[in-house]
Symmetry: C2
Subunit: 250 residues, 2 copies
C-alpha cells in the first residue's frame, strides 16, 4: 500500500536522521575545533572535488529532462555553483576558503591529491544522476533537506575555533543557507508529487540512502587518511605540500 504524502516525507526525513554525515566524527572534530590545520586542508581539498562535480551532475540531469520548465528550474543550481552575473558562484567561494586555510588554490582547483575514495564516491553520484530515472535523481538531491543545519553549525563552529574563519572565507556556507532551501523545497515537492506508488517511494528512499552513502564515504576516507589510522593512500595529498604560509590557520 502506498504511504500517504506525510508518511512518505517522514520516511525520507528519517533517512537523514539515521544516516546523514552530520553524525560522522570528522564533522564533530571540524566543528568543534579539533581538526589540525592539515586535517582542515585535507577536507577543503577533497570536498572541492564534490563541489566541482555538482554542476556536472546537474547538467547530466538537465540533459535528460524534456520539460523546459523543469530544466529552467534546475538551471539555477548550476548558476549557484558556476556563477552568474554578479554572483561569483560556489566553486569560486570554495577556492576562497582554500586561500584562507593556506592552500595553493591552483593545486586545489587541479583536483590532484584528492583521495581515490572521494573520487569513486562522487563519480558514483554523477553517474547515478546520469543513468537513473529522473525521479530518483531528484530524490538523491534531497540530502539538502538536512544541509541547512550542518551549514549553520559549521559557520558557528569554524568561526569560534579557527582564525581563518571570517565572513569572507565562510561565504560559501553563508550563501548555501539561502540557496539550499529554495532548491530543496522544489525537489521535495517534485518527489512527493511524483512518487505515487509504493515502488517509486521505495526507489526514492533507496536513492536518498545512496546519497547519504556518498557523503558518509567521503568523510570515512578523510578520517582514514588523515585522522586514524592516518594512512594516506598512494597519490593522496601529503601535508606540508602545496601550502602557503600558515598565517591563516589556527
Amino acid at each position: 500500500m502506498t504511504a500517504s504524502r506525510e508518511e512518505f516525507e517522514a520516511r525520507l526525513r528519517q533517512i537523514g536522521a539515521d544516516r546523514y554525515h552530520d553524525k560522522h566524527p570528522f564533522h564533530h572534530m571540524l566543528h568543534g575545533g579539533e581538526c589540525t590545520p592539515a586535517q582542515v586542508r585535507a577536507w577543503v581539498i577533497n570536498r572541492f572535488y564534490y563541489q566541482a562535480s555538482i554542476p556536472m551532475k546537474d547538467a547530466a540531469f538537465m540533459s535528460r529532462v524534456e520539460d523546459p520548465a523543469l530544466r529552467r528550474e534546475w538551471r539555477s543550481r548550476i548558476e549557484d555553483h558556476d556563477g552568474h552575473g554578479e554572483n561569483e558562484g560556489g566553486i569560486e567561494r570554495w577556492l576562497r576558503l582554500a586561500d584562507a586555510v593556506g592552500l595553493d588554490r591552483s593545486y586545489v582547483a587541479s583536483k590532484q591529491g584528492v583521495l581515490p575514495a572521494t573520487k569513486f564516491a562522487v563519480d558514483a553520484y554523477v553517474r547515478f544522476v546520469r543513468e537513473k530515472p529522473l525521479l530518483e535523481a531528484v530524490a538523491a538531491s534531497l540530502t539538502e533537506l538536512f544541509a541547512p543545519k550542518i551549514h549553520a553549525d559549521r559557520i558557528k563552529g569554524l568561526l569560534a575555533n579557527y582564525d581563518f574563519a571570517n565572513d569572507r572565507s565562510m561565504s560559501y556556507f553563508q550563501r548555501r543557507l539561502n540557496e539550499a532551501p529554495k532548491d530543496v523545497a522544489f525537489g521535495l515537492k517534485y518527489v512527493l508529487d511524483n512518487a505515487d506508488t509504493q515502488e517509486k517511494q521505495d526507489a526514492c528512499a533507496a536513492a536518498l540512502e545512496f546519497k547519504t552513502d556518498v557523503l558518509w564515504s567521503q568523510l570515512d576516507a578523510l578520517y582514514s587518511a588523515y585522522v586514524a589510522p592516518g594512512r594516506i593512500p598512494p597519490g593522496g595529498w601529503q601535508p606540508g605540500t602545496y601550502e602557503l604560509d600558515l598565517r591563516a590557520t589556527a
Copy 2:
C-alpha cells in the same frame, strides 16, 4: 620520446612495486593470521562484490570489441569466473570460501552489507572499462602482473594461520595461480604492442594506477570499518549477523 618496450614494461611494473595492495596493512594482517574471524568475514563479504563484478567488467569490454579474435581471447576470463563445463567458476569458489569462514552464503551472494566505498570503487572500475579506450581498459587489467605473488602468499598465510583454510576453501586462489598468468601474458603483450606513442604509454600507466587505487581503496574501507577506527558505516555488515556456527574459523 616514446619509451622502448622494455622501459615501458619496467614503468608498468614499477607501478605495482609502488602501489599494489599487497603493501596494505590489511593484507599483512590477513596473511599473518592477525585478522579476527569477523575481519576475515568482512573481507570475504566485500571482496565478493569485486569478484562478482569482474565478469560484468569483462562483458562490458567485449561489448566494445569489434575483432572476434580478441573477443574470443577475452571470453575465457568470463568463463573463469562464471564457470564453464566442469569448471564451477571463481564466483562459486569464492562462495565456498564464504561457507568455510562461517558465513551464510546466500547473504554474501546478495551483496547486502557490502561497504558503500567498496561498491563505489568497484563500480568505478566497471565504468572505466565501459567508457575508456580499449587499450586503457586492457592496461587496467594488468594488476594481474602482481597477483600471483599475492595469491601464493595468501594461500600460504591462510593455511598456516586459520582452521578454515584447506584445499577446498582455498581453491579460488589456487585456481587463479593458473589462470592469471595466461590472461596477463596476453594483456601485457597487447599493451606493449599497442601503446606505440608516449601519449598512449602515459594513458596506460594512468589506467594501471587507477586500478591500483580501486584495489587499495577497498582495503582502506575494510580497515576503516573493521580494524581502526572500526567505524562501520550505515548499512555495512555487522559482525554477529548472517554467521553460521564458528567451527570453521580459528
